[in-house]
Symmetry: C2
Subunit: 607 residues, 2 copies
């Protein structure tokens, strides 16, 4: 269908012409017109979830259509629903149906989600669970096929998804996958690796045919090679010059404002310098802690920050709606009225925000998706369908995914070698530095322990020989190293969330507490240990990544965990949860920990 | 394929990385960067017709790739090839392979062509001929399926194309049709006519899924209903307020600058007032006389005029390239690198213009399509494939399409009734006015004679009874009326080009010369008669619409025709050819002539 079935279209046209009543009529609104780049007083009519009329005061003086329900906006603003250009639901530690409520409450009505976290643990079963659970909520989540599972060919992840696997899944679940997710394997792309190119090629089987990008600091010939493959967007820019390099090569630039990565303010000059560039700039949260989502928001937070940095509010809204819709080919073209969005105009989905003002200091007064009220003043008021049998079956596949080897105390006791490379944490940023200190003063131990079964199997096969349990695993399935700036004191933090393979990462100031933390991880989550005892925990039994509890509860547990960690020396702006999860990520500069040891992600070598 | 086959991609990436030589390297260029909204000195690399590298001086200092051929731009500008958003090849009175040469010579590298003229005469055979003949030339012509053949359900055209016919043709010629052409049947759309909606629905079978628009003066609820159907663009705006109504409802606005319609200057304030709107504004020629195309240009002419009216040159180029590409979903998304265009960036078609400056006073210094040089300084230098057997067979179907009844002299002699509605010609605009003069002073007779066989058949069936030949046809297949402002003196003009049904239209100041003109029409074209003898002619044997001669020759014949007509009282700005062809068009305001008589196109009634 190009627009809708002929029958649907008949109804919409009849409603637009006033021959039958519309469902909802928004009157006395200040309509944010992202096409005309203005705010105009007027009315908006909705039928069957589709906008069928936009009447501008002073231009359109014909009588308004009859309506089943009239909503008097009382001079408040009516804006299109926000589109979050890139995010990982798992990073909010809640399942999709819970994530949806948080996002909708802050005005996100469409989310472009890459589920490569759960896919790294559970493979395509993980993606399948996400897709099905998302159906329960009125947030339109467009799922991308994870392109890099594992993140690097030799990563010790829980699954591998090849181009052939992708094609099989998309054949079996036609229409369920929207595009190919962030292509992080830059060496694979620029090296013209056949499997990597075959994955890019597999994007043709997705709904949009699009390949999303991830190319921190890629420039020059390498950026040429990367963009030659038609990769559409990048959310990893940290400076305007880098962003302009990519924008000028045809990539949409996502000004990311997440929990761990705060790039928006630094990138604002790209648009402030020349507002014409807003057509190619969007917003993305990427990774967002649930407490942050609830306290400061999602894309509304990005708009607020952009406005604070000098961007015109209509421009900010335009980037959050029209530009993102255009980036993902959701504004017009194939797909039909139920798919088209990004603006308040006839023939688009009625994803609408009622706003008291355009400052985004507060959550939207009301949020509508496809014409239905789903949130009011930061509170979700829509309907969530119960998890049916299909969801329950898939959910079961996501449990019991943590398989740890036995680790004798000796394994956690290792020396610091003066001048050895140490991860230098950059609070609020996924990028890390590297330092080579002469002493271990102020440093913490960091270990990464494989948890998908390889270590357990190796141990069963006798890898430890006659030594203490786990010694044979070191450098193979247990990596050991040091970190600066992660100031946990009198204890340790362990976690099953460690991008992207989600092995168990533990950081501590003493081996004993580190061992307690690892043992307390159970079936997944974050554990904080203080002087030998668990002082806080956040259970994440779904793949070791997501809670099975409501988002509010997870946010409270998250907050309590942070408070406890603050008492143990983790000082703001370092977040004890979000600050930890990227330490193993081998596709972002500069130094990371892997089960084999410390890894330089720039030279792609162990150090 | 999302981008290209894996093998193709491998080659492109290798070229981008410098592992193999590129085909062409443009150096010392001022690159017009429509994404970054700037001009930057740099180099552009092309491989297999695709841009694989864009290096900006000062940012990208890595060595340039080796190249088979290096083109030193010597500081000249390098801009993306132009995209003409809406045009009818037939209006240039040449066949597609000839049109292509004219358009390429002026920098148009992609043309969105609606062949509803030839389709109104020859049905889908006409479209098929256009598609096949276009393959001979290096202009990428995207053919739209004519949506309104005939233009109104009761038009006396040579063919009818139903939704079912469209589906059958697209089934038989997969990938040959790009979208659904301008939907001119506004009453059908807003009336939710089933056949009209079924045609809109049939767009889903086209490559792009898009439905192009045509909605002069449509506003309010009717515009809501029209845009609810997802119709993407309008090229019929004549005032900025009208354009803003449509732009704000999600339509792309085509600033049309053709031969008969000159709307660009009037619409420039839409963009000049707020350059942010350029993302939703494009250029189109719609109908362009070959002599105009050669003398003043195509989209380059639109750019020149826009710049003269105060638009920044980079903005004008952006509208002519990126905005049009986005409108037609050609910039990214499904389709692959060979389809993507609208900017100079890796992964896009190497459609490039070398420009001495950005004034567009002269044709481009060089024009490249998919990396191949095809024009230099207004002269086509590319290759045209010979017309093969398939083209010859289809071409044969386009000949012998003029079937005129016998008309006795009495038929052309009719009285003027004081106060009767008279067409008021608006030179340079397809819109006409209506006047009701008290005398015939200064008026001319206008007649429209059905030529597709209905009149001949009715005559054979005895419609004239005992009267003079043709009297029985009046008001049925021969319309009679009066026109003001079409100042032909001592003679008449007759033509087989009369939008959209292309019946024979004749205008004259005396019935005798009008009869001579009609009889001289032969198998199609324009005929000018002076005091009883043919004084100029332009033969158009292909459907009565297109010449079988080269464009240069057609342009010369066209010029000679205009000169002869000027000598007979047709004064500039009225064009004796382009000014005549819209007089029968029943879908543009206000008064038109039809075979049944004078027709009010606003109220859709005969007057």
């Amino acid at each position: 269908m190009s627009v809708a079935s002929v029958e649907d279209l008949h109804v919409l046209v009849d409603a637009a012409m006033g021959r039958i009543p519309v469902d909802t009529l928004f009157v006395n609104a200040q309509v944010v017109d992202v096409y005309g780049h203005r705010v105009v007083p007027g009315a908006v009519a909705v039928k069957d979830g589709i906008i069928v009329g936009v009447r501008f005061d002073g231009r359109d003086d014909a009588p308004l259509p009859q309506a089943e329900r009239t909503i008097d906006c009382d001079g408040r603003y009516l804006a299109p629903g926000f589109i979050d250009g890139h995010l990982h639901i798992e990073s909010s530690n809640v399942r999709p149906a819970e994530y949806a409520q948080m996002a909708l409450a802050r005005g996100t009505t469409t989310a472009i989600a890459d589920s490569h976290e759960i896919a790294n643990v559970c493979g395509l079963d993980g993606l399948h669970f996400m897709i099905e659970d998302a159906q329960r909520a009125p947030l339109d989540i467009k799922f991308m096929m994870p392109s890099c599972v594992p993140a690097l060919p030799d990563e010790q992840a829980g699954a591998t998804i090849t181009a052939e696997d992708m094609r099989a899944f998309m054949g079996e679940h036609a229409g369920a996958v929207f595009g190919l997710g962030e292509m992080m394997n830059t060496p694979g792309v620029i090296g013209a690796d056949d499997e990597t190119l075959a994955r890019i090629d597999a994007a043709s089987l997705t709904t949009s045919g699009l390949v999303d990008g991830h190319a921190p600091l890629v420039a020059g010939a390498e950026l040429d090679a990367y963009t030659t493959c038609g990769i559409i967007a990048d959310h990893e820019c940290t400076r305007p010059e880098e962003a302009l390099d990519k924008l000028s090569r045809g990539m949409y630039i996502m000004l990311r404002e997440g929990t761990c990565s705060h790039d928006l303010a630094a990138l604002v000059p790209l648009v402030a310098e020349d507002p014409a560039r807003m057509r190619r700039c969007c917003f993305a949260t990427d990774d967002r802690a649930p407490s942050d989502a609830q306290a400061t928001g999602m894309i509304d937070n990005a708009c607020r920050m952009a406005i604070a940095a000098g961007i015109d509010p209509v421009d900010a809204i335009t980037m959050a709606t029209l530009s993102t819709a255009e980036c993902f080919c959701l504004e017009h073209g194939h797909g039909g009225a139920h798919e088209h969005r990004g603006a308040i105009a006839p023939g688009k989905r009625a994803d609408l925000l009622v706003l008291d003002d355009l400052s985004f200091q507060e959550p939207p007064a009301q949020v509508y998706t496809a014409g239905t009220l789903v949130a009011e003043r930061g509170r979700f008021v829509g309907a969530i369908a119960p998890a049916g049998e299909k969801v329950a079956q898939l959910e079961a596949l996501l449990r019991n995914t943590v398989h740890l080897p036995q680790l004798a105390p000796e394994v956690l006791v290792y020396d610091f070698h003066p001048g050895e490379p140490v991860i230098d944490v950059v609070p609020g940023n996924a990028v890390t530095g590297v330092v080579r200190p002469e002493s271990a003063e102020g440093l913490r131990r960091i270990m990464l322990i494989e948890r998908h079964g390889r270590a357990v199997e190796a141990q069963a096969a006798g890898i430890d020989g006659d030594g203490p349990a786990g010694v044979g695993l070191v450098g193979k399935h247990v990596g050991c190293g040091w970190v600066r700036g992660f100031t946990i004191t009198d204890g340790a933090i362990a976690s099953t969330v460690g991008h992207d393979s989600h092995n168990v990462c533990v950081v501590g100031d003493n081996p004993g507490d580190m061992r307690v933390a690892v043992e307390a991880v159970g079936q997944g989550g974050f554990v904080l240990v203080h002087n030998g005892a668990v002082s806080a925990r956040l259970d994440l039994p779904l793949g070791g990544l997501m809670s099975d509890k409501p988002a509010d509860e997870v946010a409270r547990e998250h907050d309590a965990f942070v408070v406890a960690a603050r008492a143990q020396g983790i000082e703001a702006p370092l977040d004890p949860i979000m600050g930890m999860i990227f330490l193993p990520l081998p596709v972002i500069p500069s130094l990371r920990i892997r089960p084999e040891g410390m890894f330089d992600t720039v030279s792609y070598t162990y150090v």
